[in-house]
């Protein structure tokens, strides 16, 4: 009997590809953002708003279990550089899916790559895609206990967007508790309150992206 120490991450295979993606993005000057949130929290709406208001060169990859509906929405909103990944049942995107899809994108021609993950707060949090920034999206109608229920995402997300903020006041939602919960998971977390209906919070969010890109 022979024992062999490995001490390797269970995501070692995914991690190797993710590191490769990160290198390719870096060499092309692309700052990659992995956006994770529940189905219906407004990830695609945020990217539609971004397509119309973020005055930078970027592309979008959208992961869904079925259909390219979300990528089509983003294309219709004016961002032609949007690509769909249909996982066919998979509950998360993997680094290899991003590696293959990124080959279709002119990376030299963009400065940012937004990756909208499959709507899910558990599995996507465990898979590095080679992004520079992991962002969690919450929304007011989902209720104010999401952060505590899904720690694996919120300990990893560098920033949290609380979306549909225009609905605050119509629902029982303790936003101060949500922010405190976010900080309990990650004391350095950056929190944004946004609404695609009013545009609230997006100037700060876009500036944050520009600042992060300067330092990556």
């Amino acid at each position: 009997m022979k024992t062999q120490d490995l001490n390797l991450s269970a995501q070692e295979s995914n991690q190797l590809i993710a590191s490769g993606n990160r290198n390719v993005f870096y060499e092309s000057g692309v700052f990659a953002v992995n956006i994770i949130g529940s189905p219906g929290c407004g990830k695609t709406s945020i990217l539609e708003y971004t397509a119309n208001h973020f005055d930078e060169k970027f592309a979008v990859i959208v992961g869904d279990v079925k259909t390219a509906l979300d990528a089509d929405r983003i294309i219709k909103s004016g961002q032609k550089n949007a690509y769909a990944i249909e996982t066919g049942g998979g509950c998360h995107l993997t680094a290899n899916m991003i590696r293959e899809k990124a080959m279709e994108i002119d990376l030299k021609g963009i400065d940012y790559l937004f990756i909208e993950n499959v709507g899910n707060l558990v599995c996507p949090s465990a898979f590095d895609l080679g992004e520079n920034l992991k962002i969690a999206v919450l929304s007011i109608p989902e209720g104010d206990e999401k952060v505590r229920k899904y720690p694996s995402l919120f300990i990893r997300a560098a920033a949290v967007i609380i979306n549909k903020i225009d609905l605050l006041g119509f629902m029982d939602y303790d936003i101060e508790q949500v922010k405190a919960d976010c900080r309990a998971h990650n004391s350095n977390v950056k929190i944004f309150e946004t609404s695609v209906k009013t545009g609230k919070g997006f100037d700060e969010f876009f500036q944050y992206l520009r600042d992060q890109r300067k330092h990556f």
Binding site: L6, A10, S13, V122
Partner: protein, 112 residues
């Protein structure tokens, strides 16, 4: 339910590291962090299915749960029962989580 994908990755990683000796694989020792997002039972189930497919149905799987721990900005090190456990010394949440986030393949045992 990403445990099956994790299990595939684990078996691939072990195969990459042992090469020709994969058929001698006897035991897999793993650690699963409290905040890793992985469910131990599901992971074990996924591993068993994949090992069976690889003609390795007798491989034993030993998974140890790892509690989450943190170091507070006040330098206190403590274990977290839940993510809402504040520092027992100063009550703060200003901390770095030092363990419990990952799923780790610790070691493997190979038959002679």
């Amino acid at each position: 339910m990403h445990e099956f994908a994790l299990a595939q990755d684990i078996v691939e990683t072990i195969a990459r590291n042992v090469g020709d000796e994969m058929s001698k694989l006897d035991v897999i020792h793993m650690e699963v962090g409290q905040f890793s997002g992985a469910v131990i039972d599901s992971l074990e189930f996924g591993l068993k299915i994949i090992l069976q497919e690889k003609n390795l149905p007798a491989v034993k799987i030993n998974i140890v749960p790892v509690p989450a721990a943190a170091i507070c900005d006040c330098k206190t090190e403590y274990e977290l029962d839940s993510i809402m456990t504040a520092c027992p010394s100063c009550g703060s949440f200003q901390r770095q989580i030092t363990s419990g986030k990952d799923v780790i393949i610790k070691s493997i045992e190979l038959k002679d």
